[in-house]
């Protein structure tokens, strides 16, 4: 067991290293330099040097939506659902938060609270819709979710160039900056919001607790493992599936709020930053374990923030970061599959499904 465990950590790491170095050599650059630049771009070089406060703040604020979405996805994955609609749920959260930020005037703490609640409600609604399509309509959640992703994306684009356009100019660069009272409170002139980081950690702990210490979580897992027999055991499976989508949607909606009133402080068409899809990769890599989400999504956030400086400094396309993430996840799940196959060969007892 220890040998196979070692294999599926060492093997993917080796694959990633070799493939990235090969790619960079093919692109004609020194392979070490981009890695250093990614660290420099996200945390400073040396990491956390005195002038890097802004970068570190940005990295944390990219970590927040990825980690929140990942926490939500753990719930839907445990219920056996592929919530590809997570992108749309983030976007609808951002739209709802933007609506409150633009239209409501209230004392600052109340307004911030309202944007968060509105964001959660927006994401929840969009998640619930995927769930209803699935349970009442029998529409596969992958396609229902994808359709709602497209709807949400069209809606933001419409809002940004239509009703919420900046006076005089309709451009996809975004709406006007929201009133300052609605911003998530941040520290030291950076974008870092301790409130957002706190909510994210709470959400992750909450999801851990849900599956570790509650009957609800246990039943949800049962529904995910075997829906027909859970139903026969008297679990209202449809309600549990809807519950999973509601929890995931609300967390994704808060991620959208963090994007709208925390990071960008305005609404842009690409408000989700693709973080929902990235979170699916994070959860697959974390193998659905909540606390692993914290470091893995931080690593992904570093790549996302740091790789933007690659094109400026090295003339390497920033998508290198995405390639790295993809290779890492693919080689990890293949490594796991390989280890499981070998374990199954050595002992005939099947030790469960992987991936």
């Amino acid at each position: 067991m220890t040998r196979s465990r070692l294999n599926f950590i060492v093997l993917p790491a080796l694959v990633v290293l070799v493939s990235v170095v090969a790619l960079l050599l093919a692109a004609g650059t020194n392979p070490w330099e981009p890695i250093r630049l990614i660290i420099q771009g996200s945390l400073g070089w040396p990491p956390f040097e005195s002038g890097s406060a802004n970068k570190v703040g940005d990295t944390f604020m990219v970590w927040v939506p990825i980690a929140l979405a990942s926490a939500g996805l753990i719930v839907t994955f445990n219920a056996g659902m592929w919530n590809i609609g997570i992108e749309g749920q983030i976007i609808m959260g951002a739209i709802a938060a933007a609506l409150v930020a633009r239209e409501v005037s209230a004392p600052r703490p109340l307004l911030v609270l309202l944007t968060i609640v509105a964001g959660a409600a927006g994401g929840l609604l969009w998640g619930l819709l995927v769930g209803i399509l699935r349970t009442a309509g029998g529409v596969n959640e992958i396609f229902g979710g994808l359709g709602l992703d497209f709807v949400a994306l069209s809606l933001t684009t419409y809002l940004v160039i239509g009703p919420w356009k900046r006076p005089g100019v309709a451009s996809t660069s975004g709406t006007e900056i929201f009133p300052a009272d609605s911003f998530l409170p941040s520290v030291g002139g950076t974008r870092l919001s301790p409130l957002a980081v706190g909510i994210t950690l709470l959400a992750i702990a909450g999801v851990w607790l849900l599956f570790r210490g509650t009957m609800y979580g246990l039943k949800l897992k049962a529904v995910g493992r075997n829906r027909p027999s859970s139903f026969l055991m008297g679990i209202p499976t449809d309600r549990y599936l809807l519950g999973a989508f509601v929890i995931c949607g609300a967390l994704a909606g808060i991620a959208g709020t963090a994007q709208a009133t925390g990071f960008h402080q305005k609404l842009i068409p690409t408000i989700s930053g693709n973080y929902g899809f990235l979170a699916i990769l994070v959860v697959l890599l974390a193998r659905f374990r909540p606390f692993w989400v914290i470091p893995i999504s931080f690593f992904f956030a570093m790549i996302a923030v740091g790789s933007s400086s690659l094109s400026l400094r090295l003339n390497v396309d920033p998508s290198l970061g995405g390639v790295l993430q993809g290779v890492l996840v693919l080689s990890t799940i293949f490594g796991l599959g390989w280890a499981a196959l070998r374990a199954a060969r050595e002992s005939p007892v099947d030790d469960g499904e992987v991936g």
Partner: protein
């Protein structure tokens, strides 16, 4: 309102219909590929990424060799390689097909951006136009059907060939058996997993050719993620088409018509110019949602004729793995 009517009237223009017929070629290839793969029981969810990477491969190979016809086999090889990764992961390693497909989608997309960066905006090769002698001079139909190029004709030939193969040959019956009842197929002496590898690879090759049809014919050249989201539409159309090649082909044409309609609306609503081109994507998926609505299906069950046309049932063993016990 009059804007809508104008746009609708423009749809019946000969040139518009001809452009829908020609524009469907890429998605027809990819949809046939995915239909074959899913019919054998393997969902290749990576289409959106692998089609894009294949599109890049086709463009680059055609550019380097100066021959557009070498681009297509290169793209087919890339699509096939991606499909084989999905097949290997799900058949040999018993991994979840959706997981492998999704990760591969993300990886191939980013890889196409990374490797294609230096090709953005460079002029490349294009499939030459070729009117079919004789047929192309028929009034209306000649313009609509026979004044395109070899790749467009080949796309429609592929549709008919897929249909004939699947429903009119013994090998096609085996393909269906492998996807519907692998145990029964196995009992009849069919090598289930070998056939699944074969048809997933074949499907991947067609998906790759679809990608190259974009960069070498429909949307010449390379830009950032040129076929973005079209792979997801392919997956949706396969379901919409009820895993039947001819119905899926109808779905592709319907999507093309929606796109043409959205484009026709742009001059009527210029302030929505940036939103309209994206409308066919949600529209197409919403059509899928309606067609799959349980209540509608129950209603259809009372009308066998309509049911046969509209109902779509997935292959029995889709997405599952088969092991000889």
């Amino acid at each position: 309102m009059s804007g809508f009517i104008n746009a609708l009237v423009d749809m019946f223009d000969t040139a518009t219909i001809a452009s829908i017929v020609a524009g469907a070629s890429a998605l027809l290839f990819a949809t046939m590929g995915e239909t074959i793969s899913e019919k054998a029981g393997v969902i290749n969810l990576s289409v959106d990424g692998s089609m894009m990477l294949a599109a890049l491969a086709g463009f680059v190979v055609a550019l380097q060799t100066g021959s557009v016809w070498l681009g297509f086999p290169a793209a087919a090889a890339v699509g096939m390689a991606a499909a084989l990764v999905v097949a290997f992961g799900s058949i040999r390693l018993s991994l979840n097909q959706v997981a492998v497909g999704f990760v591969l989608f993300a990886l191939c997309t980013e890889l196409s951006r990374f490797l294609g960066d230096s090709y953005v905006g460079r002029p490349g090769e294009a499939v030459p136009a070729w009117d079919i002698p004789g047929l192309s001079s028929i009034p209306f139909f000649g313009r609509v059907l026979f004044q395109h190029n070899l790749i467009v004709y080949l796309a429609y030939v592929t549709v008919v060939a897929t249909y004939l193969f699947m429903y009119r040959t013994r090998r096609g019956l085996e393909l269906q058996g492998v996807g519907e009842r692998p145990e029964a197929a196995h009992a009849r002496g069919i090598a289930v997993n070998r056939l699944r590898y074969l048809y997933t690879a074949l499907g991947g090759a067609l998906i790759g050719i679809g990608g190259a049809a974009f960069t070498l014919d429909l949307k010449l050249g390379w830009s950032d993620r040129p076929t973005r989201n079209l792979g997801w539409i392919v997956l949706a159309i396969v379901i919409f088409g009820g895993w039947h090649p001819l119905r899926a082909a109808f779905g592709v044409l319907l999507f093309g018509a929606l796109q043409a309609f959205a484009l026709n609306l742009v001059p009527e609503f210029p302030n929505l110019a940036q939103v309209l081109p994206s409308i066919p994507f949600p529209a197409m998926i919403l059509v899928l949602v309606i067609v799959n609505w349980k209540a509608l299906l129950r209603w259809l069950d009372r009308y066998p004729f309509l049911r046969a046309i509209l109902r779509s049932d997935p292959p029995g063993a889709i997405g599952s793995r088969f092991e000889v016990s």
